[in-house]
């Protein structure tokens, strides 16, 4: 597999202190990366830099070997909040990425409608977002990211606000979409179980300064069913990651 995304020595300083220490990460085409780490370790900062919204203090971001540092418009970015525009219908919201730059073509409109239909928003196409449940709003926000039609998707805690049942069905759904569409996904979560369940590799980050602590390949076969959550291998991964996150260097009594 070829390299889709290269993060080379990227860092961000605020007032002389690192929010994100120099960071390197290489992501293959079609890979599913999840990122975990405590609050404030620079996860969103990293996404903002990759998406071109934030200028890094140093370093480069490459997509398909092309330098896209500081250049927005090259990745699909879904933030933690769904950020649906209340005055646009679901359909218009899904097409936002296109309508912000040009008129959506007939084909694009049909594709948006088909996607919405397929992923359970068909009857809400012409509804305003306030009529939809949290799960449906998240799906609409995700479809908006998909319709932006970039190979690399950055998802910042997309399911953070959902209950565990909805969350699980959304994870299944995301894996379906990912396997159908073969996109490259970077996915931030606070939920270690979710991180292991979804990922090809889990990136564990730590704070002060924000940095990548370790990258753990998850060698569990796909498609993954719910049953694997209690398998030995799965639990071992979970423990390994939890240990990394909760090992506080100030506390020597930790095993």
């Amino acid at each position: 597999m070829s390299h889709k995304l290269n993060i080379e020595n990227v860092s961000k300083q605020y007032a002389g202190t690192y929010a994100l220490a120099p960071t390197n990460l290489t992501v293959s085409d079609g890979e599913f990366i999840t990122i975990v780490g405590p609050s404030g370790c620079g996860k969103s900062t990293l996404f903002n830099i990759i998406s071109g919204v934030l200028n890094p203090t140093e370093g480069d971001v490459l997509i398909d070997e092309k330098d896209v540092t500081n250049a927005p418009g090259h990745v699909g970015y879904m933030m933690q909040k769904d950020l649906l525009l209340p005055w646009k219908s679901t359909f218009e919201n899904i097409l936002l990425g296109i309508s912000l730059t040009r008129k959506a073509s007939k084909e694009e409109q049909e594709r948006a409608a088909t996607l919405a239909e397929r992923y359970g928003l068909g009857t809400f196409l012409n509804n305003f977002p306030h009529t939809m449940s949290g799960g449906m709003r998240q799906r609409a926000a995700f479809l908006r990211t998909l319709m932006f039609n970039k190979d690399v998707l950055l998802l910042d805690e997309p399911f953070g606000a959902l209950d565990s049942q909805t969350r699980f069905s959304m994870q299944q759904w995301l894996l379906d979409v990912w396997s159908e569409q073969r996109r490259t996904i970077l996915f931030i979560t606070h939920d270690v179980e979710e991180a292991v369940f979804l990922a090809d590799r889990v990136v564990v980050m730590s704070p002060r300064p924000g940095r990548i602590e370790e990258i753990i390949p998850i060698e569990i076969e796909r498609p993954r069913e719910r049953g694997i959550l209690t398998s030995e291998a799965f639990i071992a991964y979970k423990r390994q990651i939890l240990d990394l996150i909760y090992t506080d260097p100030d506390r020597s009594d930790h095993e």
Partner: protein, 287 residues
């Protein structure tokens, strides 16, 4: 899709019956007015009865109507000038921190000066024509619109702006689709408030920049003759002017902010599979 349009029509229905409430409450107000005169035996030169007032309106209708048109013109154009300039300045100030910092204090100072005082100066500068009156009405509308639109622009989530940036949107497209619609709700609050305030502005304007033919002039002439019925006739027409303006702004507001009351977008913006083949929908996605 047909089951959805049913949902909309069900929502539409109470809109019509809503008209009954203002009719009832204004009717009750007239009744109260009438009853107060009877119960407390208020003499007609202090407070005329509703009948006497309406009789006065009918009697002097040609003059009142032409006064209504003259004042209404000042009101309407002043209102438009004030709200458009307030709106445009808000957009400039929201996009320039420097401009914002420089102009905000001036705006507040300008509001602290009584309109009448400014009016006197305006008459000196602009004479007794329509110009000083337009400026006075415009000044009354200008500030609420400016402040509310600025507030609306500031409510736009920073993350939303980051998102549009990540999507490679231009400043104009972000403004048109994300920031502008965010100003509608506060803008219309300001316009509804101003719709009634600027009637006061128009009366004030006629008193300071006195000229012929306005309803304010008519009212003052009647009052100086101690013609209470005539005075009240003018007052009723002022109230009508404010009500009409408020009503028109409310209709415009409802048409511009469907998401606040409806579940589904207006028909022309709906996507249906059949629609996709006609040209009209591609623009719907733009809105």
């Amino acid at each position: 899709m047909s089951d959805m349009s049913q949902t909309t029509s069900r929502e539409d229905r109470p809109e019509k019956s809503k008209f009954i409430y203002p009719v009832i409450s204004i009717g009750a107000l007239f009744l109260l007015w009438w009853a107060a005169i009877k119960v407390f035996s208020i003499p007609a030169y202090v407070l005329p009865t509703p009948e006497a007032t309406f009789a006065a309106i009918i009697e002097d209708w040609p003059e009142l109507w032409s006064g209504f048109l003259v004042t209404g013109q000042v009101f309407l154009f002043g209102f438009i000038i004030g709200s458009v300039s307030g709106f445009l300045l808000a957009i400039c100030m929201a996009n320039s921190k420097l401009l914002n910092r420089l102009l905000y204090p001036i705006m507040i100072v300008s509001q602290a000066i009584p309109v009448i005082a400014i009016g006197a100066a305006l008459v000196i500068w602009l004479g007794f024509g329509i110009a000083p009156k337009l400026v006075i009405v415009a000044l009354v509308v200008f500030f609420p619109v400016l402040v509310n639109v600025l507030d609306g622009l500031n409510t736009v989530d920073k993350d939303m702006l980051d998102l549009t940036k990540a999507m490679g949107a231009s400043w104009f497209m972000t403004f048109k689709q994300v920031q502008l619609p965010a100003t509608y709700v506060p803008l219309f609050s300001a316009l509804k408030m101003s719709a009634t305030f600027s009637v006061t502005g128009a009366v004030l304007a006629e008193q300071t920049a006195s000229s012929q033919g306005g309803l304010g002039q008519y009212m003052m002439a009647q009052a100086s003759r101690l013609n209470t019925q005539g005075t009240f006739a003018a007052i009723i027409l002022f109230a009508a002017m404010g009500l009409i303006a408020f009503f028109l702004v409310s209709i415009w507001e409802k048409a511009s902010t469907p998401w606040r009351r409806k579940a589904i977008v207006p028909t022309r913006r709906r996507f249906t599979a059949a629609h996709a083949t006609s040209a009209s929908t591609s623009s719907a996605a733009q809105r």
